[in-house]
Amino acid sequence: MPHIDSIKQISDVVWEIPTSYKPGMLVPARIYATKKLLDGMDAGVFEQVTNLACLPGIVRNAYAMADAHWGYGFPIGGVAAFDTESGVISPGGVGFDINCGMRLIRTNLRYPEVKSKVKELVDLIFRLVPAGVGVKGTLRISESQFEEVMKYGVQWCAENELAWEDDPSHVEEGGFIKGADPSKVSRQARSRGIEQLGTLGSGNHYLEIQVVDPARFFDRNLAKYFGIVEEDQVVVMVHCGSRGFGHQVGSDYLRVFDGAMKRYGISVRDRELACAPFSSKEGKDYYGAMVCAANMAFANRQVIVQKVREAFSQVFHKDAEALDMHLIYDVCHNVAKVERHSYDGVKAELLVHRKGATRSFGPGHHDIPAPYRAVGQPVIIGGSMETGSYLLVGTSKAMEDTFGSTAHGSGRTMSRTAAKREVRGAELQRKMLERGIYVKSATMDGLAEEAGMAYKDISEVVETMDRAGISKKVVALRPVGNIKG
């Protein structure tokens, strides 16, 4: 981190940069990190989180979570809430991969039953779930059906035999965000997206078969609510987003906003922080299109999960229902949404941007599915493909402190080029197999770029959020099979 005289420690894992740090800051910037994580954060995080604090209509604080690193405009791991009347919306606060997110499904299988079949499962899922550069899915839908996907996400899947009855209610926002406006989506975006449902993509996206780690089974009582009851229980995690569809919506509106700011008299410190009033035409248009992409991402992960159910059913010669392959939850970590929050004694409707950050709603919130409402919303934090992942739960303190938000993953510390210099894909694949993780990748170069050493220590990130009280550890999940896009 750069030297910042004015940074003050609020608690052992919360730091604050005051508004006096930079001209134009309207609110302080808060960073969630242990001293070790804070010292290791790149200078871009501090520059960018304080830039966020300058955006019109921001309320209370700009936030950087423990996994924060430099991003475009907003840091990855950035959270900012804006007044819906006086505040802005920024495509840079969502990212190009709109509603990139995590999905976790459980099984009633234990690792000893699955161990000898991991290779068969991974190879089959690799065939059923296309991954890599420019892939198309197997689902063919008409343009009007694609518009329904944009509007109704997982609900559309449920009406078209692509989801189980209780799937939509176990997805953030009930499987679709309201307010989609397909008329604001470009022809190019539609063309990119229409054949991509059920595809994993590339980069850091993955599909992983994981096992409950008995040594890090932190809260067995909470885990029961989510159907995790056994040590060595097998679960499946999916990490991906809205594919080329969302990427194009992001590109289209970044260009629109780049030109629109002058009209609204807004100047920003970074071109990627382009924004417009949420109440403006550009703001409304982007929100309508962004919601379409978010709903497509929910549907994309849903179609993938149907394929995963099919693969398990085929390999274990049982119905997926008999294998109890229910959805534990599906959370966004790149999105802007209108939510109601209480802060500083005020109840207000806010536009909450979470970019590389996860919603972490606490017990009792009406947006949490009924079976979980007493304990809080499941929070799924994906680690690197070597280190494993975590299931946590949202807390009341997150509602009080961070507009119900927490971290999303481990965060990169090494460039893609540097990672490839350190290890070759084939060598990494062999080493992971020796450690009991069977990996299949669409690209060997891409595999090397996603090596565990290129990421922060996820345990330290999760520990920080737990100590801050904005999400609570439930269980760690270690990978045994991985498909990398």
Partner: protein, 140 residues
């Protein structure tokens, strides 16, 4: 090499710098760099030709839209390219490009990273002496 990758610019993504003694050369070099991120061009053949025409408000946006088009065509037509021939109009507000490559073949092509988008970070065309240069950061 008409372009070079900049490993320290974007930790999670890929940045490159391209240059040429002409605007057309700069656009062609930038297009080659985008292709190189997605596939080893040595494994591609020049079997399919696609022609595109692009209009924009200025030279910066013309390059942004041209590079975005390569990414769009990869998703929509499943085509990757290894050769680019670009003609930029005198007012620098439109271009015609001929792109040669072939449909994605997952067995024969050495595929790399799927590019999500061209970002605006550091983006822009600049002239340094007699050379045209650009820095481009791609979201991966």
């Amino acid at each position: 090499m008409p372009f070079r990758f900049l490993p320290d610019v974007a930790l999670a993504d890929i940045a490159f710098e391209a240059e040429s003694d002409s605007v057309e050369g700069l656009f062609e070099s930038s297009a080659l760099a985008v292709s190189d991120v997605m596939v080893d061009p040595e494994t591609l053949r020049s079997e399919t030709t696609k022609k595109v025409r692009i209009y924009a408000e200025d030279l910066d946006r013309l390059l942004y839209d041209f590079l975005t088009e390569i990414i769009v065509v990869k998703d929509v037509d499943s085509l990757l390219f290894r050769e680019f021939e670009v003609e930029v109009a005198a007012d620098q507000k439109s271009l015609k490009a001929t792109m040669k490559g072939e449909p994605i073949d997952r067995v024969r092509h050495l595929l790399r990273n799927d590019v999500k988008a061209v970002t605006m970070h550091l983006f822009g065309v600049r002239r340094e002496g007699s050379r045209w240069k650009t820095t481009v950061v791609l979201d991966i």
